[in-house]
């Protein structure tokens, strides 16, 4: 577990550097380093499915972010209704902390999981589904509703991105030298 502690400290350092550094490209690279450490820690905790997914998604997001941040600064606004914004932030912080505290009291103690459902999956998973990868049998057979919901979320995200981008494209469609429309 010493390795895991080192990785967690590395991740915290990467996140702090990503927040504090002035150059946007360096911030993106620091976020990528933190994600890589997260992937390795998933691997140390014996979750190879998650490790592969984390690594691959990290690469994709890094490519997109680098592509989006090069030669372009993101707008960062500090003016406006700062009093209202700060008050709302604190009020919601207090509300969330209160509900989080009262929800945490009902959880079982750390290290004493209630494993009745998981024991059933572990014992009967192979016989019921015939899948060698137990994660696949849980994700796509016992908990397939969750996966269907995730697929719907992804579909909604894609449709939302395309809709936002397309509206901008339509506005420019009236100009003469426009050939791209998505």
């Amino acid at each position: 577990m010493l390795m895991l502690d080192i990785l967690i400290i590395f991740m915290i350092l990467g996140a702090v550097i990503a927040l504090e550094v002035k150059d946007l490209l360096s911030a993106v690279v620091a976020v990528g380093a933190a994600g890589l450490a997260l992937s390795i820690s998933f691997l140390l905790l014996k979750a190879p499915d998650l490790a592969i997914t984390q690594l691959v998604v990290e690469i994709l997001i890094l490519v997109i972010l680098i592509r989006a941040t090069i030669k372009k600064d993101l707008p960062f606004s500090t003016t406006g209704r700062w009093f209202f914004n700060t008050t709302a932030t604190f009020v919601f912080l207090v509300v969330f902390l209160y509900f989080g505290y009262s929800a945490l009291k009902d959880l079982p103690r750390f290290g004493e999981p209630v494993m009745r459902v998981s024991q059933f999956y572990l014992k009967e998973g192979l016989a019921k589904t015939g899948a060698a990868n137990l994660v696949a049998s849980v994700v796509l057979n016992f908990r397939a509703y969750d996966t269907l919901g995730e697929a719907t979320v992804l579909f909604a995200a894609v449709v939302g991105v395309l809709a936002v981008m397309r509206r901008k494209g339509r506005k420019e469609l009236s100009e003469p030298e426009n050939e791209e429309e998505l």
Partner: protein, 155 residues
Amino acid sequence: MNLRMKKSYSQEPGMSLIVKVITRLTVGLILLYGIYIVTHGHLSPGGGFAGGVIIALSFIHLMLAFGKEEALGRLSKRFVSLFEGLGGLLFLIVAILGYKAGYFFYDWFVSKGKLFSLFSAGTIPLSYLAIGLKVTFGLFAIFLALITIKLKAKK
């Protein structure tokens, strides 16, 4: 981007000759690896989401190296949106076909097969195939949209 060849390759879009040659060699391997991860999701770690992202990365790789027109010539926008919808529909069909025999996702129409063989585990490979299609073309569509907006902002 800055390391372009002086005469013949400065006209073409995309990156330099070295990047293009390496891309031509590696992009097929990356695509094949993604397909392997998707189809072996029920046997080894990985699955539809991770494999789909790898396939989308191979398309993005092609696009970054050869420029937008070359990649869109092979893979048009209509094709991308068609397959994105097809993946979602296939997953829904797998769910609803199970309902015919009792409850959603009940795998009565595909046999479970032998353990550790490629065609086993009932509907799980089918569902992973659907999720892989969906993730691949969904992420690639997002990347296409972002690239197109970027180009417009430059003009």
